[in-house]
Structure formats: C-alpha cells, structure tokens
Symmetry: C2
Subunit: 187 residues, 2 copies
C-alpha cells in the first residue's frame, strides 16, 4: 500500500516548495505571506478582493492579514479603496508595480521545469488526482474552495455569456476565470 508514501512525498514536496517560496520572496524584497497575498489579489474577482477574503484564502485571521496588507500598501504594490455601497468594505487592487512584480515571479517558478520532465499524459492524470484531493481536503476541513466562476454551481450561462446566480451580475469571459470566495462546486 503506497498511500502513506504519497502522503510523505507530498508533505516533503510542500516543505521544499515553501523553502523556495521563502527564498524567492526574499529575493524580491517581500515576505512569503506578502507575496502570496499579492499573487492572490492579481487572480481574484471583484467580490473577493477584501482583507477578509485574503485571510480566508491564506488561512489567517483578519488582524494578521491587516498588517501584511499595510506593508504592501506602504511599498506601493497595493491600493485600498472603500466600497461605494458598503463603507465597511475595502477593495484591494495591485498597482502596476505590484502586477509587474507578480508577472516576473510567476515566470521563474522552480516547480514547473521539474514537473515538465514527466510526460504529458501523466501530467494530466496528476492534475485530476491532485485536484480531487484538494477538493476533498477543503471539504473535510470546511475551507472554502476559492476556485474560478466557470466551475461554480451559481454560475449560469446565457446567450450573452455568464451570470452569477448570487449577485445576478453578468460576468465577462475574463471574469469567469477569476478566483471567487463564494465559489461552490456543484453537488
């Protein structure tokens, strides 16, 4: 039975990934958490760009996240904007400088070249197994999925494109590729 083995390899791989992320972030003058928060904010949609959402995504309390965001703002990588309707809510948007930084970093990730040595059939199998494991694990630990709208059960397709069943707002082709904090898989 190789189940415990996979568990072990996966944990080891995660450790390694974390080490490299730390070294990597440091190279760009950021802390790992800051890098992760900024990356998330370049990938999430307009319902999910708040301090609260960042905290849920990273598994941290809002107080903790608040400080990291403050530093990102001070470094000019992030802009804060209070919501027009609900003045409690703050929207976070990466500046051009912030976006460029993330663009650079995702270019030289160390994981991809190592993965690329496997053949493409194995890659796609790996993809499906890992994805279902991720979903199972999120369910088991009552974490939100934080996936893109096009796989969401609230997403409705019509002749013009897509509509979110929660907000009843129409979504563009780009929109449905973004991460949403309200995402739920079809049951």
């Amino acid at each position: 039975m190789s189940l415990p083995e996979v568990n072990e390899v996966l944990e080891r791989l995660c450790n390694l990934l974390r080490m490299e992320t730390r070294a990597f972030a440091l190279k760009y003058g950021l802390q790992p958490v800051q890098m992760e928060a900024l990356t998330y904010l370049t990938q999430c949609n307009r319902y999910s760009d708040t301090p609260q959402a960042v905290g849920e995504y990273l598994g941290l309390t809002k107080g903790t996240v608040s400080q990291s965001l403050k530093i990102l703002e001070q470094k000019g990588l992030l802009r804060k904007q209070t919501d027009k309707q609900d003045k409690r809510i703050v929207h976070l948007s990466p500046t051009v400088k912030g976006k460029n930084l993330i663009k650079h970093t995702s270019a030289d990730k160390t994981l991809t070249p190592s993965l690329a040595k496997a053949n493409s059939k194995k890659i796609s199998e790996l993809n499906s197994v890992l994805r279902s494991t991720l979903i199972e694990m999120q369910k088991a630990n009552q974490r939100k999925a934080f996936a893109a709208c096009h796989t969401c059960r609230f997403n409705e397709k019509n002749e013009k494109g897509s509509v979110c069943g929660l907000t009843h707002e129409s979504l563009s082709v780009q929109d449905v590729q973004l991460i949403c904090r309200e995402h739920e898989y079809p049951s």
Copy 2:
C-alpha cells in the same frame, strides 16, 4: 497544456496543507516548525539527529533552529546529548512524551483520507510522478535529498544485511528505513 494547471493545484494543495498543519500544531500546543522538527527527529537516523541536520531539512539557518529546539526541550519533548567522540555535536532524541505526540498527530492527518478516495493504481502513479518531481526539484535547488538509506548509492548489501559505504557501519532492517542527511541517489 495542463502544466501550469498542475503547478497551480499543487501550490494550492501545499497552502492548504500548511494551514492544516498550523491549526493542527496549535491544537497540540506547538508551533508548526516545532512540530515539523519533532516529526523529523522521529524519522531520522543517528547521523542526522543534530541541530545542523534539522536546519538543512527544514531549509532554515542553524541559529533559527536552535531556538525552536530549545523550546521543544523546555517542553520535555526532546532530550539533548553531546556526542561521545566529537564534543561539538549534539544528538537530539524525542522523549517518550514527544514520540507519543507525533504518533497521535500522524494518526489523524487530513491528507490521507482525502487521497484515499482515488483508486490504488492512480495512487501508485501519483507516487512515482511526485517522487521524481521532488528529486528533480531538490537537484535544481541544490537541496539534500534526506531520503532513506535503502535508496542511497552508499548503501551496500551483504549476507548479514546492509552496510553504509560512508561510515562502514552495519545497518539494521530498521536503520535502512530512516532518513539520512548524507543520502545521495545513484546517478
């Protein structure tokens, strides 16, 4: 091409694993790093149970590790013992209390049950792809393998069992299953 997708899923899975590890360690009154160090020390061999090795394994400097070990010792989860031959070296061994804690924790890991939903053929494929990815990545980043003796190029089998080609000491059946900091894969 699903390569970037796998990359993304794997990163997401690692994030999730880290969240759970944090929550998990906290439940047992430990910090994540402390838990990881203690886990490593229950799995490593007698050449690899030093502060230095723990640092290499976790990708941290020895100064950083020294503090975490100090806390583990204060909590009675760890014992320090200076080497008989080389008095600079300190050997770290988990106490009974420490071993029990790790035994409990590895019992209710959240990853395993989620993985178990995949069929066993996929599991073993997953195992091999992830393992080679791990090895590739360790090579690319010049990290040590930290794997078990039985896959090491220095390990020599004889009629009595195994011998380490570096230390020329004989290794028991249990020994060759333990993690070694000097481990190198055959080329």
